[in-house]
Amino acid sequence: MAVLKTLALDIRDLYRYRALIWTLVVKELKLRYRGSVLGFFWSFLNPLLLMAVYALVFSVYMRIQMEHYPVFMFCGLLPWIWFSASLLEGVNSIVGRGDLITKAFFPPQILPMVTLFSNLINFLLSLPILFIFLWASHVIPGWPLIVLPAILFAQFLFTLGLVLALSAMNVHFRDLTHILGNLLTLWFFVCPIIYPLKQIPERFRFLVDFNPMALLTLMYQDVFFYNRFPNIKVLGGLIALGIIVIVVGNAIFNTYRESFAEDI
């Protein structure tokens, strides 16, 4: 219960500091492309180029037999980028901002949260491109889109819980950054992002049920690509899982939090 109580206090704190979160998110986004010629367009270009690479490899070289394959892939790729970039940047968010942690007083949860938010905004900004592609491929999403916010919410909770735990643990175990990078590569390939679910051999397919990111990917594909409602029970389950991950993640964060200012 004590864990939940501190969680409630932390949430209240974060709400109080929302202006700071927002300022830091804007700063993060501005900083990302400051000085580059194309500036903000990189947030569109990066996923586009990545998609082009995968499209080349999988539909030209390896010849995956699937209609509108590049667009299909794009549907799962964008949310994955949000997820993996949040974790990869977030894991260093405490360690990398020693200047803030040791100089000013604010709830440190803000820092991993900022990376999550700035990547979310990047993701949302790249959605118009996705829709243009869908439209160009005559794949028109419809009513199922109204479930999208709930899917985003589920992914947000899940990612936030993970990034809280990782960023705090990374202060003490700095190998985490490297481990995470490799782990995410593996994770990416076991999610049905660059291949459809039916490519997974029947006997392994149950594994998808234990992989929240795979389940989320399928849901994104449902609403964007297949124009059908995802399984609401599974979605509810994912949101519940997200809340559990946040409770645990925040508890881990708080056990390490005391020593941040001294250990950085």
Binding site: T23, L24, A104, F105, D175, I179, E262, D263
Partner: protein
């Protein structure tokens, strides 16, 4: 309004030794359970059971030697560190000048950084917008505010940080050794701000080595020594006690390092027909001492032993050098035509400086016994050191006897 602005009760803070060495555990260490430091010496007590209250509207100066826990105490009050035990209560909006320009990013312009920093310090966007011009004017950065902070000089950077921090309009201000920001005119402004804060009956806690600032501004001084409150009270009295303690300590370490008989950096040469057995620095009363106040009598005593009667007359000499090896003064008995006759095999020679007018600093002493033609019997270079303390911060080598006459 009578409540205390800051209240500390039995606050202790210790740091892990590993932290001080800035080590961190890698996965390998973790898996192998390697302990870099044995369990017992793992913590360093920085603050030990500190209890104090700062009344509202008072200005408190915290003094103490480096490493006495002053800055840690301030960071605890600011909430950056958490105490290991005890409670800290802060009643009122607090702004700290502990680290100026928290969160400044070099790629952003001064304007953008003011907003980020201001929000970090607890202002709302609206409040920053209202105070923005004032902040910039105070920092004297009107022409540079839209340039990236990386192009700023360190003085400009500090000024901007200081300016934002004081415009937060706090009820409690924490200051850590930042009064010397920027050039002189800005320094005056800073002092003016502190004066205004005091006049507005705000609470100020400052950590500083500048005793004159403590004396001038503080209602009360707190002397921290080795993580404990050694004394607190009226600034003048506390400063005197602190200075006394510093002097004693210095003397101890100084004497340990420069014990008579131990050679410093210097060399020793000569054939020891006559050998210097001891060199002592004495006061007029004959007490051994190595730190003198300006103008105090300083006696250099050379003890010698004759091992072999030399054929020619003997000369005793002394030389005093600064730490930069500049000779301040040198003389010997031959130059001054003082006849020496060694009737005994052992004896002492005293060189008495009636009024030591060397300015504040550390000095090295050469002593020598040589023949009239300069042939060395025993030459001790930089054998002993002594220090002069002075309240007057004049410059040069020695203080010439002087007075000022005014016709203004």
């Amino acid at each position: 309004m009578s409540e205390a602005a800051i209240e500390l009760q039995h606050v202790s803070k210790r740091f892990k030794r590993t932290v001080l060495k800035s080590n961190y555990v890698t996965l390998k260490d973790f898996l192998l359970r390697k302990r870099r430091v044995p369990k017992k010496g793992r913590y360093i007590e920085v603050l030990n059971d500190i209890s104090l209250t700062v009344p509202r509207g008072k200005t408190i100066g915290i003094i103490g030697k480096n490493g006495s826990g002053k800055s840690t105490l301030l960071k605890l009050i600011a909430g950056i560190y958490r105490p290991d035990s005890g409670t800290i209560k802060v009643n009122g909006k607090l702004s700290s000048l502990i680290e100026l320009g928290a969160g400044f990013h070099p790629e952003f312009t001064g304007r953008e950084n003011v907003y980020i920093n201001g929000i970090l310090l607890g202002l709302t966007k609206q409040q920053i917008r209202e105070r923005f011009d004032q902040i910039v004017r105070f920092a004297e950065l009107e022409d540079f505010i839209d340039m990236p902070v990386r192009t700023y000089s360190s003085g400009m950077y500090m000024r901007l940080g200081f300016s934002v921090a004081v415009h937060v309009d706090p009820e409690i201000l924490l200051i850590d050794e930042v009064l010397a920001v920027g050039d002189e005119s800005f320094g005056h402004k800073c002092k003016e701000v502190i004066r205004q804060f005091r006049a507005a009956m705000k609470t100020i806690v400052m950590v500083t080595h500048d005793m004159s600032a403590v004396e001038k501004w503080c209602d009360e001084a707190i002397w921290l020594n080795k993580g404990e409150v050694a004394d607190r009270g009226e600034p003048r009295r506390i400063i005197d006690r602190y200075r006394e303690n510093v002097k004693e300590d210095e003397e101890k370490t100084f004497e340990a390092a420069h014990q008579v008989g131990t050679n410093l950096l210097g060399k020793r040469w000569g054939d020891r027909q006559i050998e210097i057995t001891k060199v002592r620095l004495l006061t007029r009363e004959g007490q051994e001492q190595s730190i003198y106040n300006l103008g105090e009598t300083t006696i250099i005593e050379i003890s010698y032993r004759v091992n072999e009667k030399p054929p020619q007359p003997v000369v005793f000499g002394v030389g005093i050098f600064t730490a930069d090896n500049i000779c301040c003064y040198g003389t010997n008995t031959d130059i001054e035509k003082i006849p020496i006759s060694l009737s005994r095999n052992e004896g002492r020679v005293r060189f008495i400086i009636e009024e030591n007018t060397l300015i504040e600093g550390t000095y090295f002493l050469d002593v020598a016994i040589h023949a009239e033609d300069g042939y060395p019997f025993d030459y001790l270079q930089h054998h002993t050191a002594f220090a002069i303390r002075s309240r007057v911060k004049d410059v040069g080598i020695c203080r010439l006897p002087h007075s000022w006459e005014m016709d203004t």
